[in-house]
Assembly symmetry: D4
């Protein structure tokens, strides 16, 4: 399969869009991922591997030993240190431990794409005082990523309090009637407050990418 | 059809459950509704007709001229004045004009079933200060009915602020991805704060009935 | 992860709502759960951990050895003995063995939140005589939790026989067309008898919590 | 179009299956229906037109003046009098006025297909005493058709009380979360009591046809 | 758990309905199933355990060594030999190997409930000649159970060829757009030919039970 | 609006693909459709307007009086006579009157795109003899379009009898559980016989277009 | 109703978020809308009424005669002229006439919220050359709103060609299997190219609002 | 089970349709598959086993050692070498590594059914230049199979560029809101460009089969 996997890469994407392509590891074998890493190693710029399990991580590191691996987020990146940040601040927020893997994937993506980023992990609509206590930080952001499962109400509540765009990431966390993320997805699409753009379920990478684009430095 | 429509009534329900049966008018002809009214007129206690359009109302009033009709709520009742209230306070809350028909149906149902009731029509999660400004009233309730369409986030936010049970009524108000009330229904079932019991879409009568039971005077 | 997991707690909830927060263990690592237990141990009042598997239980008990663990219900609690009951009686009912884990989670939640509680495990709509044989107990309750999978018809049948509110908990038990609890969920939302409030699929904790609020002692 | 509509008929069905074909009028023009009636008039045996509105009825009667039209059920039939009944008794039951059109369509179908039939229009699970009061009639049936909307719980409850097969017909009657009959359809498919066969939503004709086959006289 | 599991049984069902209750093993522990077997052993008549895996089977046989176990169908029964058949013939048909477990569950259920039964395992709509080749057997049946996954078209095709009622059992066999049995379920509910009653997905027991009731000997 | 509507046209499509673009009239005003007709009139080749109601037809004919309008199919075309047919035969088949509008839209599309076409309007799976009676015609086709609502079983049955590709067009005809065409759509996607390609619900134009491409003359 | 409708307004939103509240007219009576207009007239800044039919428009203009009404977009605004634009360019793009109402609602919203805006109405994925011909304009935007029904593929294709964020607005335009906008909604959420944020079906206002926030001038 | 499994085969299919039957291994035991192989070995022509895991492969090879096994595609075939190709070229295209198993199943099926076939594994809508770079090959095909997960937009884009029919195969690859292939399935059914026929999710065999039929040599 090694000869096909190279077809997977769109290495000109950086030139075309200004952002690198990321490799979605889920459903790929470790060997396929390793072959892609071997090829990407020769390209300039940041490389990202998402949804990488420890086997994927080991395979990548066999080719690029210095790659950074955040196991909780399932994210591999190199160079291991994000580039110096430019553009506006991106705040990534979620309600608690269960949504943290997705939130961290978003937060790391933002940083590797070159934006300053902060992570808030303790605000939930069941305790409004926690949201209100972070208003200053939230209002200083150029873009906010809000990650939420269950009722998915947090992005709409945050959007009603700030002027920055909110990128909403539903997660598959919850009881049965959350239907693997369908419930928070619908909630976010129906947010009463305008200013919420929704991405795919559990797609922290996509949420972070969109926020990094929103907060990009304005070209002169 | 007149001879069948009488089968519809469960006039012993009051004796069995302590609450009268309501007649769901939607899908019934005015003549069917009139025949039911003629029969119920002979029974003691409160009579309620829900989802009644003006034709239904005229038909009922042909039999029971003193019946009270709230056209916005689609509710007919007699005796026209609710009984003296007993039990705890029920607060019915919604975000605004679009949800008012359902909220008023709930509010009237509570009153005709014999509870004291208040209606708040101006709180929405997109403006948290409006919720917080009504906390004293919300916290004085024995039961709260929260009516919401679109993202349906309000019941969960309210439940996180009070100790009383919240009865959540989703409405079919919203853009396409609300799917005629499915979105707020799922949101309410997945509310992060415990203490939310959900009833059917646009079912203000059901929400008010459940709240009236919750706030019933404690038997000695 | 230890440093983030502490953000998870809303220890002021007891002061604000009168009920403790519960920790949802599903999707959390044993280490995350242990860290939360270590912190909650220092708080007054009852602590509840739901959806706890044996690994979660061992982790909690490493911090709080006296914690009570009901493996069938997946519930951990301390102090191990529920507080002395106040308020009205809560009856928890289900049809049989398959729904028992959820029913016991509800029953234990009610007791740890301080209400008197009874568990009926042998009534199903396919044998009405079993329901009718328990009418006296059902009618003595201030709130009833009915747990049901498959057709989910039991809550509506019970609600038609009593004056107390019914909290309906759908379960994911059943053949394929139950769609993991969707079928009984819809049945309960469409119950012909008013007085049924529905919570999330398999959410015995949520059902018990709502019932405990309904049956709370009336403030003077 | 008249020349194509004749293709619609499977007039040999009676010979092959022992039951006549029925013409589904919904979506057909009055002229199309008239042309079909003109052709069927020349065939022996019973002819049935279902989902016929008054325009369809007028068109059929222009060809077959003696045809019987039950407007509530939307059913046209000739010869106008059902054949002398053979086989076992079929009981058709529903909860009340809203489900009556479908129940009558089933009841008429049974009679025109040649079985003895009874119609019960006043039993609902919210008042079990009404079901129990009809047990003798229900238990005397060779097949029972149960028509129900909303929670659709009635067929399962009836099936638990009798030994005859139950044909369940869900209707589109109900609040929003009934989703136009989806909720009672799922309830019936998940009935706890075995012995329930389900047909399409609002398909009283199909329910009656199946029951007539079940109750057919046993060939010697 | 042993003390609750006994509540599960409705041993009077045989007296009430004329058919024994079956024990649904899925989701029960081997120990729970064993306890139920121990109690049922003392009751007269046939006992059935459905969805029984080998562990369940071993547990039952520890109590009732003579119980018959059909591993493919997941069915346990005792007495091990079905009763002498009475009533009309039931034919159970499916298209091939993938649907055989469900078809055999239906076929065994029919036999243990006391009807003569035949199993056809090689007819599918993609090869009509195979259906037509079995017409004589199909037309000799008092009731036909048709088991089908994928497009679920077989029951409707069979129903168009015979006068007996068809019980349709959808299975979860198929590619992704079969959605675990939803596609054949809908097909069967929409069968063009009347005379099809549908039961739950993969519910061979339910299909066999209904067919056994349909083919029951006519009481004198 | 006139100035925007011209943007709608992709008049180079014929050069690029060899087939003309069709104008989807549904949701467009008569004036918008007229403006498009005025512009298309100046282009060479066949022009098609689909889903055209009589108002749309009048507006088009105000610009192109010779346009042919098939009201049943909702199709407008000019030049009014289809081009001389080339390529293989396309057979369009449906079960009866209700599916005829969609079948005729497919049949006309095939003819205006330049293929020889036949229409069969009287075959349905509930009467297999009608299908078998047309086998010779079906087997002479290079492509077959099968239009079906309700259970949607016809395309799979036909595909099992022929070697030509089958284009399946589900229709929204049927009772409630057909869910506006979802049921036959799923049936067709799950057809047991390979060789079935499915297009959108009620999309006779799309089905005819695909068949015309399949039956196109082979380039030398 | 006049006294409740005033509760609807959150006139402090401008101070809090920097954007005015819009009034969603759908489901409101003309009188309710008039009363809201009367009150908003006294507030500073831009006022927007969305989903306004001609009756709504007349009612608003009875209070605010100078209000601008775009009937195609269903949008009312005053002051009638948008404020002088600040911030980056927003390009709104759709494929053709059917999606124009939603696209114009987005375009007008952007302009009334103070951003420079361009509208492209003639690009669709079925003709890639039209997209490629507009690349310079698309690449000059700070944010792009892409409106699409049917397959909803356009936003993903555009996102793959530019570095600016794409706001995707699905519309309810299409054949049956578009399920009133569900199909393009899912397509957009699953866009292969990152950088797409999705809003509700047919919600041009929401799409325009989010884009205006993204393109807001960077605070110093 | 061996005696039933032989019923599975429709060995006359080749004579009737001109294409061999394939054996769907998923859900069958290795022993069942072996027994089928033993029987098919005696038939002339190509034999195909789809969805075969390594255990199935070993079982088949125990009977037919020369059978070719493509593990990535899950396809077994013998004779091991495809027949000499006749008819038009079939091009199979997908976007990358994740969709390759399904694409290869399609590609191999085409070849074993006797058509010339090419596989393109590196085109995706997020990088249009890759599609445009393969236009010559795509335009030389008599039929094109396009395999895509996630947004499923590729088939529609390709169809807009060529005159050959496109067979679209959705895959279950993607984030949560792809709902196991539902999203790309709907996208393909709603493709803006006509000329797309859709098969089941992940059904590479079905897609290849249909394409082989389309590209079959024209009979003289």
């Amino acid at each position: 399969m090694g000869e096909e996997s190279e077809f997977d890469l769109d290495t000109e994407r950086f030139a075309r869009r200004g952002y690198p392509e990321a490799v979605f590891c889920e459903g790929k074998t470790a060997e396929q991922v390793r072959a892609i890493a071997a090829r990407l190693r020769q390209e300039p710029g940041v490389a990202l591997f998402t949804r990488a399990n420890p086997d994927h991580a080991a395979a990548v590191r066999a080719e690029v030993p210095e790659a950074h691996y955040d196991e909780l987020a399932g994210l591999l990146a190199w160079p291991p240190t994000p580039p110096p940040p430019t553009g506006g601040l991106v705040v990534v927020a979620c309600a608690g431990t269960s949504d943290l893997p997705v939130a961290r994937e978003a937060w790391s993506t933002v940083r590797y794409l070159g934006r300053p980023a902060e992570l808030i992990a303790d605000i939930g609509v069941a305790g409004l005082h926690r949201i209100l206590g972070r208003l200053d930080l939230l209002r200083s952001a150029r873009a906010i990523v809000v990650v939420a499962g269950m009722d998915g109400a947090l992005p709409g509540v945050v959007a009603g309090l700030v002027s920055a765009p909110v990128v909403a990431v539903p997660t598959s966390v919850g009881y049965g009637a959350a239907f693997d993320g369908l419930a928070p997805l619908l909630t976010m699409l129906n947010a009463c407050a305008p200013g919420v753009g929704v991405v795919n379920i559990d797609n922290g990478y996509g949420g972070g990418h969109l926020a990094a684009q929103i907060a990009a430095p304005t070209p002169d």
